[in-house]
C-alpha cells in the first residue's frame, strides 16, 4: 500500500490543482459553466477519497514526508515543497476535502441562476482554493505554508469579490485582503527571523531542534509573536477581525467553506502545528489567551445585535476561532484543534443552512423571515442541529470540544479569560437561538409579513443576487436536492461526532473540575431559554433588553468604532501621507531639478545677448581677455 508514504495526501492535493489548471487554461470549457462545475466536483470527490484513505493511514505516530527542492541557494536547497502527512494534517485534510466537496455540490443549486462563464470562474476559484488550503495543511515547512497562506488569501479576495459589480462586494474583498495582509507582514517577518534563528524553514527539523533545546530563547518571543500576528489577521483576532463580517458579501457557500470551516482556521492550525515552538515562549501564549478571550467576548456581543443572518454567523465564527485560540494559548492546543474540526462541520452546516433560507426568502435579514419551519421543515431541522452543536449541548458536535477548551483555559491558570469564555458560551447559545426562533418559529414582525422580496428592497449580496432573477413565486420553499444533500450530510456528521464524543469521552490532557460540565451546559441552556423567552414567547421585550445594556448596545451597533478607526487610518494617515510624499516628489525633489534646468536655460538666454554681431564688441572682448592673461602670467 502506497498510503503510508504520503502519496495519497499528495494525490488529494494535486487533484484540485488539476481541476484548477484545466479550468484556468481551457477557457472554452470554463465558459460552459456546468460542465466546468462537474470537472471540479469530480476532482473534489476523488480528493475526498484520497484524503480519507490517507487519514486512515496516518493514525497515531505515523508520519510521512515527501519533499522536493523548490528554491536552491549556493548549490544547496534553501526551500522545499512537498507534503508532511501525519495524524493532525490528514484529519484536517479530510475536513477540507469534505467541506470543499459538499460546498461545490451545494453551489450547483445555490448558483444555478449564475451566468455560465461566471459559474466556470467560480469553480476555478473553488478548485484553486481547495488546492491552496490543502497545500497549507500539508506544508512541511514555513515557506510552503506562507505560499499557500497567501494563496488562500487570494482566493478569499477573489471569492468575496465574486459579484464584483456590486460596490459593497468589491470593497469587502479589498478590505479582507488588506487587513489580512497586515497580519501577513508580521508572519513573513517572523518566518525570516526564525529562519535566521534556527537555520531552517523545515517544521520537522525545527521541531527536533526545539525538542533538543537547541533553539536559543533570546529574541524568540519576538519571532513567535510575529508569527502569531499572521494568525491574528487570518483567524480574525482583535483588532484585525473587522474584515470577516464584511467578507459575507461573497456567495454563501464561499462563506461556509472559506470564512467558517477552513481558511479562517488557518491561523489556529498554524499555532497548533507549531505549538512546540510557542511552548518555548509562554509570554506570547499569554497574549494569545487574553486576545482570544477578549475577541470571543467582543464578537459574541456583536453577534447579538446583528439583523443579517450571515453577519450573526460571521461574528459567531470570530468568537469560536477565538475560543480555539484561547485553548492554544493556555498550552493545550489539542483542545483547540478538536474544536477546529467540530466547528468546521457544524459552522459549514449553519452557513449552508442560512444559504438555504436566503435562497428561499431572497433576503439576509431576520425580520424578513419567520415561521419558516412550516415551509422548510428539513432546513429547520438541520439548522437547529447546527445551532445545538454550536451551543455545545451534549450529543452534539460542539459539546466535548467546547468543554475541553473551557477546561484547558482553566487548567492553564487563566481565571478571568475562563470567566469571559463562560459568558461567551451563554451569549453564543443566546444569539444562535435568537436566529433559530426568529427565522423558523416566531411570527414575523408586523409589516414584514411574508417574504421580503415582495416588500422591501433587498440590500445584501446574495439576496439582491437572487432577487434579480425575478422569480415570480415568492413562497419560501425547500431548496433543491443538490443543496439539501450536503446539509443532511453535515447534520448527520454533527450528530454522529457529538454522540461519539459524548459516549466515548476521550481522556483530556488535563484535569477538569467536576463542576465544569454543568457550568458549560448550564450557561448554554440559559442562553437558549433567554432567547426563547425573548423572541418566541416574547415574555421579555427585546427593546427593553437592549435598553438595559444601553452603552454596550449602542457601541455594538457601531461595531465599537473599530472599523471606523481603520477607515480613518487608511484615509487620513496612509492616503494623506502618500499624497504628501507625492507632492514632495513632484514639486520639491523634481522641482530642484527644474530649477537647475531653468537656470541653465536662463543663463543661455542671458549669455546670448553677448553675441551682438558688432565687431567692436568682439575686439573689446579680445582686448580684455588678453589683459587678464597678461596679468595672470605676470603674477604667477
Amino acid at each position: 500500500m502506497m498510503a503510508g508514504d504520503g502519496t495519497l495526501a499528495l494525490a488529494a492535493l494535486l487533484l484540485h490543482a488539476t481541476a484548477f489548471l484545466v479550468l484556468a487554461i481551457a477557457a472554452p470549457l470554463r465558459r460552459l459553466g456546468r460542465p466546468a462545475a462537474y470537472v471540479s466536483i469530480l476532482c473534489a470527490a476523488g480528493s475526498l477519497a484520497a484524503a480519507v484513505l490517507s487519514w486512515r493511514a496516518h493514525t497515531g505516530e505515523a508520519i510521512s514526508r515527501l519533499v522536493w527542492t523548490w528554491l536552491p541557494s549556493e548549490g544547496q536547497t534553501l526551500a522545499t515543497v512537498g507534503v508532511l502527512a501525519d495524524a493532525d494534517s490528514t484529519v484536517m485534510l479530510t475536513l477540507v476535502a469534505l467541506v470543499a466537496l459538499l460546498v461545490q455540490v451545494y453551489s450547483l443549486g445555490y448558483l444555478s441562476d449564475e451566468r455560465a462563464p461566471s459559474l466556470g470562474r467560480y469553480y476555478a476559484y473553488q478548485s484553486l482554493f481547495a488546492f491552496s488550503m490543502m497545500g497549507l495543511v500539508l506544508a512541511p515547512n514555513f515557506v510552503q505554508l506562507f505560499i499557500c497562506w497567501e494563496l488562500v488569501g487570494l482566493c478569499s479576495y477573489l471569492l468575496i469579490g465574486f459579484w464584483y459589480e456590486r460596490p459593497a462586494a468589491a470593497r469587502a474583498a479589498l478590505k479582507a485582503f488588506w487587513i489580512t495582509k497586515t497580519g501577513d507582514v508580521g508572519l513573513l517577518i517572523g518566518i525570516v527571523l526564525i529562519w535566521r534563528h534556527t537555520g531552517t524553514f523545515d517544521l520537522t527539523e525545527m521541531r527536533v531542534l526545539a525538542g533538543n533545546g537547541a533553539i536559543p530563547l533570546a529574541g524568540l518571543s519576538v519571532m513567535t509573536f510575529c508569527i502569531y500576528l499572521g494568525a491574528v489577521g487570518k483567524s480574525a483576532q482583535f483588532p484585525l477581525h473587522i474584515w470577516l463580517p464584511d467578507a459575507m458579501e461573497g456567495p454563501t457557500p464561499v462563506s461556509a467553506l472559506i470564512h467558517a470551516a477552513t481558511m479562517v482556521t488557518a491561523g489556529v492550525y498554524l499555532l497548533h502545528r507549531t505549538d512546540w515552538l510557542f511552548a518555548l515562549t509562554p509570554d506570547v501564549l499569554a497574549i494569545v489567551v487574553w486576545v482570544g478571550a477578549f475577541t470571543a467576548l467582543l464578537s459574541a456581543v456583536l453577534a447579538c445585535v446583528q439583523n443579517d443572518i450571515k453577519r450573526v454567523l460571521a461574528y459567531s465564527t470570530i468568537s469560536q476561532l477565538s475560543y480555539m485560540m484561547a485553548a492554544i494559548g493556555a498550552g493545550f492546543s489539542g483542545a483547540g484543534f478538536l474544536h477546529l474540526l467540530t466547528h468546521g462541520v457544524f459552522k459549514a452546516l449553519l452557513f449552508l443552512g442560512a444559504g438555504a433560507i436566503i435562497h428561499a426568502v431572497h433576503s439576509n435579514d431576520l425580520p424578513d423571515m419567520g415561521r419558516l419551519a412550516r415551509r422548510m421543515p428539513q432546513t429547520a431541522i438541520v439548522f437547529t442541529v447546527g445551532a445545538l452543536s454550536l451551543a455545545g449541548l451534549p450529543l452534539f458536535a460542539g459539546f466535548l470540544s467546547k468543554e475541553e477548551i473551557l477546561g484547558a483555559v482553566l487548567a492553564g491558570g487563566f481565571a478571568a479569560p475562563f470567566a469571559m469564555l463562560v459568558l461567551v458560551a451563554f451569549l453564543t447559545a443566546f444569539y444562535m437561538f435568537r436566529v433559530v426562533f426568529l427565522a423558523f418559529f416566531a411570527a414575523p414582525p408586523a409589516g414584514h409579513a411574508g417574504a421580503a422580496a415582495a416588500s422591501g428592497a433587498p440590500h445584501v449580496a446574495d439576496a439582491s443576487h437572487h432577487a434579480s432573477h425575478g422569480a415570480a413565486a415568492h413562497e419560501p420553499h425547500e431548496p433543491p436536492s443538490s443543496m439539501l444533500l450536503p446539509l443532511w450530510v453535515l447534520a448527520l456528521l454533527s450528530v454522529a461526532t457529538g454522540v461519539f464524543f459524548t459516549v466515548v469521552h476521550p481522556e483530556p490532557e488535563f484535569e477538569s473540575p467536576a463542576w465544569l460540565m454543568p457550568v458549560g451546559v448550564g450557561s448554554a441552556v440559559a442562553g437558549i431559554l433567554l432567547a426563547w423567552a425573548t423572541y418566541q414567547r416574547r415574555a421579555i421585550d427585546a427593546a427593553s433588553l437592549a435598553a438595559a445594556f444601553g452603552p454596550i448596545y449602542r457601541g455594538a451597533l457601531a461595531r465599537f468604532w473599530i472599523d471606523a478607526v481603520f477607515e480613518r487610518a487608511y484615509r487620513l494617515a496612509l492616503l494623506g501621507f502618500s499624497r504628501l510624499v507625492g507632492w514632495i516628489d513632484r514639486y520639491l525633489v523634481d522641482g530642484v531639478l527644474n530649477v537647475l534646468s531653468a537656470w541653465t536655460v536662463q543663463a543661455g538666454d542671458d549669455l546670448r545677448t553677448m553675441q551682438t554681431g558688432r565687431v567692436q564688441d568682439y575686439v573689446y572682448g579680445i582686448a580684455v581677455g588678453l589683459l587678464v592673461l597678461l596679468l595672470w602670467v605676470q603674477f604667477n
Binding site: 505560499i147 494563496l151 507582514v185 535566521r196 507625492g582
Partner: protein, 511 residues
C-alpha cells in the same frame, strides 16, 4: 570559430531587421511588423538556447566570442555570458518580442518607430553580453539615445500643474509635455553616462592603459581609494538608469510619456541595465568599495522602496502609478545587491527579471486600456472588468506579482531579498522592504479595483469597450505565462543565477 557565434546573432539580429525595415519596407506596415517579429524572434530563440544550454556545473562565462578592435588600446569585441547576463538577455528577448506585438497598432511612422526600437534593443543586448568596458559603454549609449526620438515623436503629453516654491521653474521647462519628458530622460541618462565614462577610463589608466577587458580587470585589486570614488561614479552613473532616489524623477515622466512598447522596454529592461551595471561593473570590479558603500546602496534602496510605493499611491494617472511602482521595485533590486549575501543577490537578479516582466506587462496593459478607453485617469474609469475580462485578469495577475504574491515571480524575488536583508550587516533593511510590499498591495489593488472590479461606469465614453484582440493577446499571454512560470518554478532562474552570484560574492567577502 568552430561553433555558431550565438551571442552575436542574438545581439545583431534586431539590428539587421532594423536595416531591412529601413531599406526594404517603406510604406509596407505589415512587412515592418513581421520583419520585427522575425528579428526579435531570432533573438528570443537564441537567448532561450543560450539559457537552456548554459553549463551550470562549469559555471563562469560561456559562449565566449572575441576579436580585437583596437589592439593598441586593448579594446576588443568580447562577448560572453554568465548566469546573470544570460537571464537578463532572456528578459530582454521576452520583453521586446512581446513589445513588438503590443505596438502592433502604431499608426504614425511605424517604419521608423520599429527601426529605432530594434536598434535600441541591440544596444541592450550588447550591454548584457559584452565584457569589454569600452564596447559596453558604446552599447550603453546606443541603448539610451534612440529613446529621445521614440518619446519625443511617438510619446504623449500629460498634464502637470506647476505649483510649489519651484513652480516658476516648472512652468519654464514645460513640465508634462512629451518633449520635456524626452529631454529630461536623455539629459539625465547622459549625465549618468559621463560618470560611467570617467569610471571606465580611471580603471583603464590604473591598469597602465592596457586593457578594457572585464576578465582582466577582474583579476586586479585596485587601490582602495581609487575603488571608492570609482564605485561611487559607477553607482551614480548606472544608478540613475536604475532609478535610485533622488535621481529617479526622469522615470515617471519619461515612462508616462513614452509609447507603450518603449515604456515596456525602458522600465522592463533599460532600468535593469543600470542595476546590472552596478552589480557587474561596480561590485564585480571594485569589491572593496562595494563592501564599504553597501550601507549607502542598501539604504537608498530602502528609501526607493517606501518612497516609490507612497508616491505611486498618490498618483491619479495610471501610467504614473506604474512608473512609480518601478521606482519602488528597483529599490528591491538595489537592496538585494547591497545585502552582499547569496540570497539577497539572487533575489536582486531575480527581481530584475521579475520586475522586468511585470512592468512590461503593466505598460502593455495600460497601452491597451488607453487605446480602448482613451483615458489614463484612474478615478474616471470604473468597472471595465465586465467589458475587458482578459485585460482585467492580466492586470490583476501583474498586480499580484507586484505585491509579491506567492506563485508569481515577484514573491520569489522579494522573499530572497528579505532573507538577504536579515542576514546582512544592516538587519533593519528588512522592515522597510516588507512594508514596501504591503504598501504595494494597497495601491495596486486599489487601482485594479477602481478600474476593473467595481460597478460599471455610466460615462458614455466607457461603454462597449473591447477586450484585447489578435496580436495583443500574444503580448499579454507571453508575459503572464512567464510571470507565473517563474513564480511556480523559480529554480529555472535561480539555478544559473546562483552559479554566478556565488563567485562574485566570494570576491567581495574575500574568501
Amino acid at each position: 570559430m568552430d561553433r555558431l557565434p550565438i551571442l552575436s546573432i542574438m545581439t545583431w539580429a534586431p539590428f539587421a531587421s532594423a536595416l531591412v525595415i529601413m531599406f526594404f519596407a517603406r510604406r509596407r506596415p505589415l512587412l515592418v511588423r513581421w520583419t520585427s517579429v522575425a528579428g526579435t524572434g531570432v533573438s528570443l530563440v537564441a537567448s532561450i538556447w543560450v539559457y537552456w544550454t548554459y553549463d551550470r556545473v562549469r559555471a563562469g562565462f560561456q559562449f565566449q566570442e572575441e576579436f580585437s578592435l583596437v589592439p593598441s588600446l586593448g579594446i576588443s569585441y568580447l562577448a560572453a555570458v554568465d548566469g546573470i547576463s544570460a537571464l537578463m538577455a532572456l528578459l530582454t528577448s521576452i520583453i521586446i518580442f512581446a513589445g513588438v506585438f503590443a505596438s502592433w497598432t502604431t499608426k504614425q511612422r511605424s517604419q521608423e518607430f520599429y527601426a529605432l526600437l530594434l536598434v535600441l534593443v541591440t544596444g541592450v543586448y550588447g550591454v548584457f553580453v559584452t565584457l569589454d568596458l569600452f564596447v559596453l559603454f558604446l552599447f550603453y549609449e546606443i541603448a539610451v539615445l534612440p529613446m529621445y526620438l521614440l518619446i519625443g515623436i511617438w510619446g504623449s503629453s500629460g498634464d502637470v500643474r506647476p505649483q510649489g516654491i519651484f513652480g516658476w521653474a516648472m512652468g519654464r521647462t514645460g513640465v508634462g509635455t512629451k518633449e520635456y519628458a524626452a529631454m529630461k530622460l536623455t539629459l539625465y541618462l547622459l549625465f549618468g553616462s559621463a560618470f560611467i565614462l570617467v569610471g571606465v577610463l580611471a580603471l583603464f589608466v590604473a591598469t597602465g592603459s592596457r586593457t578594457f577587458s572585464f576578465l582582466e580587470l577582474q583579476q586586479m585589486r585596485f587601490d582602495p581609494a581609487l575603488q571608492s570614488w570609482v564605485f561611487l561614479a559607477f553607482y551614480v552613473g548606472f544608478g540613475i538608469l536604475a532609478g535610485i532616489w533622488p535621481l529617479h524623477t526622469w522615470s515617471p515622466d519619461g515612462h508616462a510619456s513614452a509609447p507603450t512598447a518603449v515604456s515596456m522596454l525602458h522600465a522592463g529592461v533599460l532600468m535593469k541595465l543600470g542595476a546590472y551595471g552596478v552589480v557587474r561593473v561596480g561590485m564585480g570590479l571594485l569589491p572593496d568599495a562595494a563592501v564599504d558603500w553597501a550601507w549607502l546602496v542598501g539604504t537608498i534602496g530602502c528609501i526607493n522602496i517606501v518612497y516609490g510605493a507612497l508616491s505611486a499611491m498618490a498618483q491619479t494617472d495610471l501610467k504614473y502609478v506604474i512608473a512609480y511602482s518601478s521606482v519602488s521595485h528597483m529599490g528591491v533590486v538595489m537592496l538585494g545587491a547591497a545585502t552582499l549575501t547569496p540570497n539577497g543577490l539572487n533575489g536582486s537578479v531575480f527581481q530584475m527579471f521579475a520586475h522586468g516582466i511585470m512592468t512590461g506587462l503593466f505598460f502593455a496593459l495600460v497601452g491597451l486600456v488607453y487605446e480602448k478607453a482613451h483615458s489614463r485617469e484612474i478615478f474616471k474609469m470604473s468597472g471595465f472588468g465586465t467589458m475587458m475580462p482578459g485585460i482585467a485578469t492580466a492586470f490583476t495577475i501583474g498586480g499580484l506579482s507586484s505585491l509579491g504574491l506567492p506563485a508569481t515571480a515577484g514573491f520569489v524575488a522579494e522573499f530572497l531579498t528579505f532573507l538577504g536583508a536579515w542576514t546582512s550587516d544592516y538587519r533593519w533593511w528588512l522592515f522597510p522592504a516588507v512594508i514596501g510590499a504591503f504598501l504595494t498591495s494597497v495601491y495596486v489593488l486599489r487601482v485594479a479595483g477602481q478600474i476593473f472590479w467595481g460597478p460599471k461606469s455610466a460615462d458614455p465614453h466607457f461603454q462597449d469597450l473591447a477586450d484585447a484582440q489578435g496580436p495583443e493577446w500574444a503580448a499579454l499571454g507571453i508575459l503572464v505565462f512567464v510571470l507565473v512560470l517563474f513564480g511556480v518554478a523559480p529554480s529555472i532562474a535561480i539555478g544559473p543565477v546562483d552559479t554566478a552570484t556565488g563567485p562574485l560574492l566570494r570576491r567581495l567577502i574575500g574568501q
